[in-house]
């Protein structure tokens, strides 16, 4: 059983527009397509896993009508829920995809509701209970206000005490404490800031350098994306480069692609594949998701079609 944790869930609203134009005093645009779904990075991973038949439990801090909508959506997808209810309303995030520029979405993410000490204590209690039944924990996404920066580090350590593998996908100030706790796989999120633990990420070498630094804390694998169709995987002994032909991709929606990558990796690891094979599949799954309007591509035939596009090579400097 897999456990996903989304501390800052969101209801995702995605709009496709031709362009945003100035109409008098207002920037107005009518969407020719829209899509709404339960979101937050961990929830997206849960959605992918459920789509390939992997039983999983989604945990998170949710509240209000939006929280209820998310809960309903998760249950409809066959995902087991163990949610912590807060008094404030769960946030909604908006993504605007302009025709011809779908690979550079405009994303407006709310900060999320502040979390009380009591709610966080309750969440931790539920989390510890769940650790008695899961084999892997996915900790993913941003952290809502008032939650300490070292929360992911704490959650990783609690899981490691029970020999449970952890996958962390986050960015910003809470990445450092998470990295120092030594998760099994760490995927720094550098969409907002091209920096990881104070180091600027601007080349393959900078990815390898920060990867090696994080491996030094006890993390087994560090995965960093460079662009939409490339990833570098760093382990203690080896470095792999994954590259697909960007030109062959027709992006429709890249929201959730990184989460599909994580979901695809976990799916393949459960199938007994090696990490580099799992990442190759994950990248193919992410690319397949980019090419459909839905946030998560549930059609495995599309993933398999992308698989042949992903080249893997071992890099120097291992």
């Amino acid at each position: 059983m897999i456990l996903t944790v989304t501390l800052n869930p969101a209801y995702d609203l995605i709009y496709w527009v031709k362009e945003i134009e100035q109409e008098g005093e207002t920037m107005l645009s009518r969407a020719y397509r829209s899509h709404s779904s339960a979101g937050g990075k961990g929830i997206n991973v849960s959605t992918y896993l459920a789509s390939v038949g992997i039983e999983n439990i989604a945990m998170g801090l949710i509240g209000g009508h939006t929280g209820r909508t998310i809960e309903r959506s998760l249950r409809d997808k066959g995902i087991t829920t163990n949610l912590t209810w807060i008094t404030e309303e769960t946030r909604s995030n908006v993504a605007i995809l302009r025709k011809g520029k779908e690979d550079t979405p405009i994303e407006i993410n709310s900060e999320g509701p502040p979390i009380s000490e009591r709610a966080l204590e309750q969440f931790l209690k539920q989390y510890k209970t769940m650790l008695h039944r899961v084999e892997c924990v996915v900790l993913s996404g941003s952290i809502p206000p008032r939650v300490p920066n070292d929360i992911y580090g704490k959650l990783v350590r609690l899981a490691k005490e029970k020999d449970i593998r952890t996958v962390v996908n986050t960015g910003g100030d809470h990445l450092g404490p998470a990295a120092e706790a030594g998760p099994y796989l760490l995927k720094p999120d550098i969409r907002e800031r091209k920096k990881v633990m104070g180091e600027v990420i601007d080349s393959s070498q900078s990815i390898i350098d920060i990867g090696k630094k994080i491996i030094g804390y006890g993390t087994e694998y560090v995965l960093l994306s460079h662009g939409l169709t490339g990833d570098i995987l760093v382990s203690k002994d080896k470095i792999w480069d994954f590259e697909a032909d960007r030109e062959k991709l027709t992006p429709k929606n890249r929201v959730g692609a990184g989460d599909t990558l994580i979901g695809g990796i976990i799916y393949q690891l459960l199938e007994g594949k090696d990490m580099h094979e799992a990442v190759r599949y994950g990248l193919a799954a992410a690319m397949a998701s980019v090419e459909v309007y839905e946030k998560i591509c549930r059609d495995t035939s599309l993933v398999h079609a992308q698989l042949s596009q992903v080249a893997v090579s071992e890099m120097e400097g291992s």
Partner: protein
Amino acid sequence: MKVKEIMTKDLTSVREDETLKALIYLMEKTSVSGVPVTDERGVVVGFISERDVISAALPNYFEMLRTASYIPDINQLSRRLEEIKGDRVSEYMVEDVITVDEDEEDIHVADLIIRNELNRVPVIDKEGMLCGVVQRIDLLGALL
């Protein structure tokens, strides 16, 4: 059909060492009238409902008289709730909880619900851990 195919995959529950105040908050937020009680591993050890909390807050003579008209004012209930809000759930839960195994047939849980006039039945796995609940509406939905 197996129970696991019709159950709601919801692990909403309360730990036996939680307070009644925490329980009331949970039931209010989730709009459920009763929840399974678990130990620290998630094993079901009881069930507690609104009715159990109300019974705990009412004077002892209520059960005998079966009417609230003898209660002088609502403040009495409020005061009593204030007194017991820090008490542990384990003090008021029903220990002899009716559960159903996830691999049982749906007819078995239907029988349990009808015979015992239950709204929700906790579903457990082979280790006794909570893995969902079957509600009356789940059964009706599966029958349609």
